[in-house]
Symmetry: C2
Subunit: 273 residues, 2 copies
Amino acid sequence: MDRAENGVGPKGVLAAVLTPMDGDLSPDHAAFAAHCERLLAAGCHGLSVFGTTGEANSLSVDERLAALEAGTNGVLVLPPFYYKNVGDEGLFRYYAEVVERVGDDRLRLYLYHIPQMTNIDLGLPLISRLIEAYPGVIAGTKDSSADRERITTLCREFPGFSVLAGTETLLLETLRNGGEGCISATVNVTSRLARRVYDAHASGHDDEAEALQKHFSQLRWSIEAYPVIPALKVLMSDLTGDEAWRNLRPPFSRLHEEQAKELLSDVPRSELL
Amino acid sequence: MDRAENGVGPKGVLAAVLTPMDGDLSPDHAAFAAHCERLLAAGCHGLSVFGTTGEANSLSVDERLAALEAGTNGVLVLPPFYYKNVGDEGLFRYYAEVVERVGDDRLRLYLYHIPQMTNIDLGLPLISRLIEAYPGVIAGTKDSSADRERITTLCREFPGFSVLAGTETLLLETLRNGGEGCISATVNVTSRLARRVYDAHASGHDDEAEALQKHFSQLRWSIEAYPVIPALKVLMSDLTGDEAWRNLRPPFSRLHEEQAKELLSDVPRSELL
């Protein structure tokens, strides 16, 4: 995650950055850098690169390292998600080994909760135990559960622990509860609007923030009606005029031409980036 | 997978080999080689290394390569299991890219079906399409579903496609249906008995094979009452007198001392390896 404005932890609106690929399905570094700059210019406070949306789980470690030159103020760490039913003790040991083996006080580890992909529950007792064992280092969480109640509880129970919602539909609610903001896939094409929600809230214009959030969530749902990553790549292809933006690594497939057309008519270009 | 007796594909009783670890949780190459030799001496036709049981999903690619020197007559390939609901088209494209990029006619790819870990269904239409696209190269499957009906169907529908059951409780049934055998975790400690089932069937002693299989399955169920990989490591530690055999990478945890004692009394040592 890129350094936030305040120089402390990730805060505000962060895009879960898409990874553009060339015809050979290698990450296109130039297009990637251009997209990162575009997102920051459009209002993102920070960038979360090589997450779920960035198809990181289809990239090798070397490929990820090759595209990462700048520093980072945090790392988002999935639980070990292949083996199932390992219990909290095993999950604790996993994160503990990561922290101990990195062995650097500058580490800021964010727990990545995304049960719809991992089928792993990072429960509150586990999070509490990790924070207690590694205060400051276990710095926060990206919570993609879309579970309002859970996110509210996390914000309230763990002061000093940063909570970032994994969907921008909960941006305003998360901010109101004392969370830091959101890290979201669709912010790849909606950064400008996301930033307006954040700024309206920050400047105390609650009604405006509420209205913007409503509109913003509606836009998200329009995109979510399609397979999200392929859909975002179609929108980026349309925005940049670069057909290569539609490339995806398997197991993702491109939207069919019909679907792509429908998406482009469902999501007004004037609203985007 | 190690070369089978007949010099063709993996066939018969294959152990899903455990990976012994030293105190630092690095693979212990000497103990690993000794264990492989022990398994072959005890009757295994072949070895399946760095699978689920071998904690491969907790090892880096470099760590796996470092422990692999000999050739192999097949590779077991999981579906891409992070992203969900990608559809058959995405799964087909994934395996197709693997085959095309390896680009070697000697490749023998075995589809690894283990939905309890991956939450991915490798359905029959997908398997059929892959066999048709890459005949001979898509050589078979390890099916860990424990779904008798599915395994029977696979044996019957796809002649020339090798079917290996992922549990030795279905060894005899799989052989009777024309499948090749089994690849199993518990065979790490029960190779001798597994081989007796295989040999009784091969020599036409059906009643003997049946009785042995029953006894053999019972033994498996006794072990399965515990978390299987930690339990097998306790049994190996007991068999070899080497405490280091209990080491496991997270997210696995050792059995509690009480559990370990219970296991050792539940599973008679005289039955093992």
